[in-house]
């Protein structure tokens, strides 16, 4: 199917929605800055991948889903989890490896799960979760429901077999899936240009009938919201999949062990994208539109800071899982 550019999408100004989206993005940003601090203090271990810079993608898409829709993603999952409504407390406690974590301390940063919000996890094997998303779409269609599944993935996923197998089946069987590529231009230190034999990643959709391929400006939360709204509608009402290439950028290293700019990307590039910061762009727009004042912004910052601090305190006080938990959750013992 055709790939379309929809970066120009304009939604009628809605101050309440703008405030909500600003809050959503700022919470992710400040939460993850605290995560960085906690990591430096050794309160968080293992692999930890920050989402800073990409917040407009989760806010723009997850923020408009229905409660009974599904979300699945990668190890870079803190942002989507927060927007989906897993509490900052439960996420921070998970990162701290505590019993009150959303995966009871068994998952960690890469494996946030929550049954209450149909958050089907952060997954650690590049590409592996894309067929799972097609499977969720299959189950929705099997039951005749009108939910959708949104599957987040990195740009490197378009080069792996699981991605193509999943897209083929989703297109063939018309499954209500949004496949969202968060193109932050790098898979670890390898640029898209050095890994993918395609210029626009959205063109991967061309190989599959029934599949829309869309390029979206991921630094503009309104553009993300508008373009994904159309794809969600398409999935919900027509049971058709879409491939969204959302162009974004991560402001931090690949993981905590990677320097912020690293050997693989020039400082100037990082600075250029920092000027496009989705949060400060929205803030500037709202101030220009006179729907927010600097005082309102300060109040928002304070509110978010309090939430994040509360999450930290909660996580810090939550007990470690008891050692007996080691052998729990390997198998369920019921046979239905």
């Amino acid at each position: 199917m055709a790939t379309k550019k929809r970066t120009d999408a304009k939604s009628a100004s809605d101050p309440a929605l703008d405030r909500e989206m600003l809050h959503s993005m700022l919470l992710q940003r400040r939460f993850e800055e605290k995560v960085g601090e906690a990591y430096a203090l050794g309160k968080i271990g293992g692999f930890c991948h920050l989402y800073i810079g990409q917040e407009a993608v989760s806010t723009g898409i997850v923020g408009q889903l229905r409660h009974d829709d599904y979300v699945i993603g990668t190890y870079r999952d803190h942002g989507q989890a927060l927007v989906r409504g897993i509490t900052p407390r439960a996420i921070m406690a998970e990162l701290f490896g505590r019993i009150d974590g959303c995966s009871r301390g068994k998952g960690g940063s890469m494996h946030l799960f929550d049954r209450n919000t149909n958050f089907l996890g952060g997954h650690g094997i590049v590409g592996s979760h894309v067929p799972l998303a097609a499977g969720v779409g299959f189950a929705i269609k099997y039951r005749g429901g009108d939910q959708v599944i949104v599957c987040f993935m990195g740009d490197s996923v378009v080069n792996i077999g699981a991605f193509h197998e999943a897209l083929n089946m989703a297109a063939l069987w018309k499954l209500p899936c949004l496949f969202v590529i968060e193109n932050n231009r790098y898979g670890m230190g390898t640029s898209v240009e050095r890994a993918a034999a395609v210029d626009d990643l959205s063109k991967r959709a061309l190989g599959y009938k029934n599949m829309d391929g869309i390029i979206i400006d991921g630094m503009d939360v309104h553009a993300v919201r508008a373009a994904s709204a159309a794809a969600i509608e398409r999935a919900r009402t027509e049971s058709l999949p879409s491939l969204l290439e959302v162009r974004t950028y991560r402001f931090r290293g690949h993981s905590m062990s990677d320097a912020v700019s690293g050997t693989y990307r020039p400082k100037e590039e990082l600075e250029e994208y920092t000027r496009l910061d989705p949060i400060f762009s929205l803030k500037a727009k709202m101030i220009a539109d006179r729907v927010m004042t600097e005082n309102d912004w300060d109040a928002l910052e304070q509110e978010v800071a309090a939430t994040v601090l509360d999450a930290w305190d909660f996580a810090d006080q939550s007990p470690e899982p008891p050692l007996a938990a080691l052998y729990e959750d390997v198998l369920v013992d019921t046979t239905s």
């Binding site: 995966s103 301390g105 068994k106 094997i125 799972l132 039951r143 197998e165 089946m169 959750d329």
Partner: protein, 325 residues
Amino acid sequence: MPIITYREALNQALREEMARDDRVYLMGEEVGVYNGAYKVSKGLMEEFGENRVVDSPIAELGFAGVGVGSALAGLRPVIEFMTWNFALLAIDQVVNSAAKMLYMSGGQFNVPIVFRGPNGAALQLGAQHSQAFESWLAHIPGIKVVSPGTPYDAKGLLKSAIRDDNPVVFLEGEMLYNTKGEVPEEEYLIPLGKAQLKREGSDCSIITSGKMVLVAMQVADLLAKEDIHIDVLDLLTLRPMDVGAITASVRKTNRAVVLEEGWEVCGIGSQVVDYIQRDCFDDLDAPVIRVHQADVPMPYAKALEKSAKPDVAKTIAAVKQVMYR
């Protein structure tokens, strides 16, 4: 009691479970229109429709993942691999997705799925189509592994596997599909995780599973004529393994041969022998001997293939060795 083939027994199990629970569906290559590469799913598409008997593209990784994803969203998929050799392309979904989901979600997301298909060698199919992977699979916590050798066991275990709320790997055998046995008309289930004593004898235990159960039974018949009486223990489920049944048998006979279809190194037999040495050290009258495939890729040439496979003669020789005969 009706006598039916192993293939028909599996077909009955699928039909009954699909009729019982509409969340159960079958997906795989050629399962529908073609009636199954080995005809296990014969007639099911006609009976249940193409929404529940789903022909997939040749994309093992993809459709195994679709199965797992659909289980996360409340369905109970049965995923057929044309053979387990091809399931290697999907092993990521078995090991990294299905087996891990419950644990890494802190108990929130179980995956009720069955991955099934023929495992091990048939006849002269060469190196890539003749592999027995039970020890690879049984290595993984978070899944169950079942390996039935008779029509009765195949039906009762498949029904239990489909009703189990965990991922179950179900290993069949191309050479088993045409074998026959008694299967009652009334419904029955065989619990996972329990071994079964297929023959009682006091001289030596043969501990085995799957296709090799048939070999062990022939060995027991032949040796009975020499007044050697074999305890044939069919493990049925390889994970979790019924350790109690193994030790009970060895404590009775004081001698054991462990027979498996796959390769020697890190095979199922290594684990069985470990349980025996731990729990039956003082009961043993001889070292335990293992019978398995030769440590080579499977050759094509008839005589070479035959000499690579575990068989009746090799097993009899092993029994005589542990009996110092």
